[in-house]
Symmetry: C2
Subunit: 114 residues, 2 copies
Amino acid sequence: MSKQERCCSPMLREPLSADRSVELARVFKAIGEPVRLRLLSLIASHAGGEACVCDLTGAFELSGPTISHHLKVLREAGVIEGERRGTWIYYRVCAEALAAVSDLLAPTASGVSA
Amino acid sequence: MSKQERCCSPMLREPLSADRSVELARVFKAIGEPVRLRLLSLIASHAGGEACVCDLTGAFELSGPTISHHLKVLREAGVIEGERRGTWIYYRVCAEALAAVSDLLAPTASGVSA
């Protein structure tokens, strides 16, 4: 059985370089905070795959500026992106960024049967 | 198209509860640090899927106690487990814990074609 067949996660095939670890740890650190992880899941599961701050604040007993701060951290880590339309900024998940970190941790790659 | 077919990540189907977010954020926080993420990848990719501290310290310009501290954080978050054999503790990745966080972030579940 080839190594490729045996395991498919990049991290399981070879150690991460120091530089790549810094990049990826930034994403994990951003979502490694309960409010931010919940915000991410609220955005991801919101109708149409996008949400504005007005859709998010109701779920938390936190001030608007605190929510905005957490959204900024997620945005700076490349996990979500925002688009201003009129008064509001609408956020959606960057599926590619999440897929990259998901694949990293997956014991087998998606699409490959166990 | 059913919702199940459209997307399969638990996080994309419905928002995480506050409690579940706390649990999962703990795992992401543990690996959201470059040294710890590299340690995890070194253990995961090591021959036989396990490594002892003696296999890990060479990759870093860090003291033994610092490496041990990071290993402890990973262990407490349930990402790795250690087994003492003789003088050394051998660490291996908890594949189940990683699969759970990987699935959470995956845009589509493994095995489901896009």
